[in-house]
């Protein structure tokens, strides 16, 4: 199946996205955030909590003399490393309990700090490389089944129940398991610590929980002879830290959007833009596939009218991702099957939208989200709508397929719900495996005309945003009818301007080659 679309319009959209992102990128280069700095500490090996349950990276940032923040935490921490001779983990604890103060070492030369940091930076980068290579080796030895890769969520609140559910889902055909976070975690300005057994609507993302789930899925992968991927959420106020933890624990995918937190969680836009950039640089190096959140435009407003916004957001997410060094094969652009099922020809509109994304982003592992908005307590109808979603996904060659649950509107999935949903997807996708190859879309027909009009409207939307500037456009509610101001929203106080001597050893090591050349 292929759409005849105007390639010059597609090129213009990409140029517009570049024009939109460039000024934001300049802004990003001049700023850092508390969460970026905490991610630096985590990568250096700082972990754990104070006796008052404050995560050590937070405690260290809080202990940093106010004047030192703009230089980045690395230099101050590096000076302390040089002077105390402690390992980062031990130094972190010493600072947290007040046995050691970061302002004691103000006179220590910067060169000594850099020298003391170097082996730990190298060790961290080596650890990321080891995990990336391990994933590649496992994928080689335990190949996945053909896409669409069936993706399910687990969300009991208890990591040990989640583990049971994840393994059961993998046996029932799931190729990707995402642990949904406890509702509200995106608004915490710290990452909780240790294994957790209570959460609401999901399970806290912690490094220990990542490790528990990775171990269980590795075991299942060996047993099933196919690698089962693990996903979590690098969104909200702790994007860079989650990206660091995910890299260390070999997660394979992360939800990571350049604008989602701003629009849908009222997180400050400056914070989000800076955070997404550093987290994506980490993702790029770790081989982690990002999943963007365009589905949210469709769940909060009319899906037919929002199609151009989805495409525009895909172009912008792609551009931000490229600038952080992510190759196309790691950019899982989002879309969703959310058109009102009562609308005549809704399937045609869905096909048009899904195929349009496939044609415009041929190398991207597109992430296709299931119907949620029009799912009701009628599980039987819901199962049927999910089947149409499955059909659209396989026919248009989507890559990452989040399986819809018949009980979507009722509860976080039961173990049996997941099995029914995976059965549905496997049946439909097997039955229609090569349907897309056999279909020639009628030139000038409904699907083609719909795709062309979405593309054209997307171009004019991007044009408007490019003229206004992205921050101003968000303020003017161009996206999702939501208005956010540059200084408003959560986490703004964690954004700061970099001093001329700002130093982030990981940023220097991870910076994409293209940027270095500039």
């Amino acid at each position: 199946m292929e759409l005849r679309i105007d390639r010059s319009t597609v090129n213009r959209c990409r140029d517009l996205a570049a024009a939109i992102v460039s000024p934001v990128e300049a802004f990003i280069a001049e700023h850092s955030t508390v969460s970026v700095e905490r991610a630096v500490l985590r990568l250096l090996g700082v972990d754990g909590v104070t006796p008052h349950e404050v995560p050590l990276p937070n405690a260290i940032l809080d202990a940093l003399p106010p004047g030192d923040r703009s230089g980045g935490v690395a230099i101050a921490f590096g000076k302390a490393l040089a002077e105390t001779g402690l390992e980062p983990a031990a130094l972190g604890e010493a600072i947290a309990v007040g046995r050691c103060r970061l302002d004691e070492f103000a006179t220590t030369p910067e060169a000594a700090a850099r020298g003391a940091l170097r082996p730990h930076v190298d060790a961290a980068l080596a650890r990321l490389a080891t995990q990336r290579d391990e994933r590649a080796a496992m994928l080689e030895r335990l190949p996945q089944l053909a896409p669409p890769l069936l993706y399910v969520i687990v969300a009991s609140g208890n990591i040990y129940e989640d583990r049971t559910a994840a393994v059961a889902a993998a046996e029932a055909g799931a190729q990707i398991v995402a642990v949904i976070r406890s509702t509200g975690q995106s608004l915490l300005d710290f990452v909780p610590f240790g294994p957790t057994t209570e959460g609401f609507g999901g399970t806290y993302a912690t490094q220990a929980n990542f490790r528990i789930m990775r171990a269980a899925l590795d075991e299942a992968s060996e047993k099933l002879g196919r690698y089962v991927m693990l996903t979590n959420y690098a969104s909200g106020l702790c994007m860079p830290e989650i990206a660091a933890m995910a890299a260390i624990e070999r997660l394979d995918m992360l939800l990571n959007d350049s604008m989602y937190g701003i629009l849908f969680r009222d997180i400050n836009m400056q914070r989000t833009f800076v955070d997404q950039h550093f987290s994506r640089m980490l993702n790029a190096r770790s081989g982690i596939i990002i999943n963007t959140g365009e589905d949210n435009y469709l769940t909060t407003a009319d899906a037919v009218s929002q199609a151009p916004a989805v495409l525009a957001s895909q172009f912008i997410n792609e551009e931000f991702a490229h600038r952080a060094g992510l190759p196309d094969r790691q950019i899982g652009l989002g879309d969703a099957y959310e058109i009102d099922p009562d609308l005549e020809d809704s399937l045609l509109y869905q096909l048009a939208q899904a195929q349009l994304a496939r044609d415009i982003f041929p190398e991207a592992p597109l992430k296709y989200m299931p119907p949620t908005k029009h799912m009701t307590g009628d599980i039987f109808k819901g199962h049927l709508i999910d089947a149409m979603f499955n059909l659209t996904s396989v026919a248009t060659g989507q890559t990452i397929h989040l399986c819809g649950m018949p009980t979507e509107a009722i509860h976080t999935p039961f173990l049996g719900d997941r099995a029914l949903s995976l059965d549905n997807a496997r049946y439909v996708m097997n039955a229609a495996r090569h349907l897309g190859d056999e279909i020639l879309l009628r030139p000038g027909g409904k699907i083609e005309r719909r795709a062309q009009s979405v593309l054209a409207e997307s171009e004019s939307l991007l044009q408007r945003v490019a003229e206004m500037g992205l921050m101003r456009a968000i303020e003017d509610a161009v996206f999702a009818d939501v208005s956010r101001s540059p200084e408003g929203g959560r986490g703004f106080d964690g954004v700061f301007r970099r001093a001329p001597d700002y130093f982030n050893p990981f940023e220097d090591a991870l910076r994409p080659a293209r940027e270095v050349a500039v």
């Binding site: 889902a169 609507g201 509107a409 173990l415």
Partner: protein
Amino acid sequence: MSHVVKPYGDTQDDGKVQLSFTLPIEWSEAGDEVARQLAGKMGLRDAQVVEGRRIATGFSFFVVYGSTAHGVDVDSVKVPSAREHAMSMEEVDAFVAERIGRKIRVAGACIGTDAHTVGIDAILNMKGYKGDYGLERYHAFETYNLGSQVAVEELVRFAKSKRMDALLASQAVTQKGSDVKNFTALGELLEAEGVRDDVVLICGGPRVTNRLATELGYDAGFGRGTLPSEVAAFIAVRLDERLRAAARG
């Protein structure tokens, strides 16, 4: 007079029901029998396990049909409905203009940590739901949609400072009773602040029933499929009653 009903399969009073469930056991023929006996203990006669299969190591899924022995007297069931004041948008606007003579101030929010705004948006946003316009479109209302993850304290502060006439609290996440806890916290805080009687207090969400709402001391609760005009009419009528009662002293 009683009117006892039982489920209808293909014959009056045959009591046929279907159910499905997962058991934490490896599937075997004995597994089917376990499922059948379980259905029997639930009160089903002639239970038939029509599907039983392994869905993962240590887990099996079953579909069962059977006949329930039980029935319920329809006439004995009374459920207070909050949807009985049916009015169109135009009728609500006219009602409010005539009886209240000013705009009704309404604030809505997803309270607690809940981020699912689909419900509150459907009721408040201009666009509405299923062709039924949201409250923002009415002349009768001055509407404030505070969005997602609004702390109960924040909503109460807002209600007091902006002198709200009606509050809409929405909850979609129900895991471990978090919805009821949040609704209760809101009601209690309004009481503690002495402003409970100043507002028409409404809760909503896919699992909310009017019965639950009245148990929690709310004026009304609206569940799945609720149209904005149903909420609008309820607010208008209830506030009118309130104001008139207050005027009478």
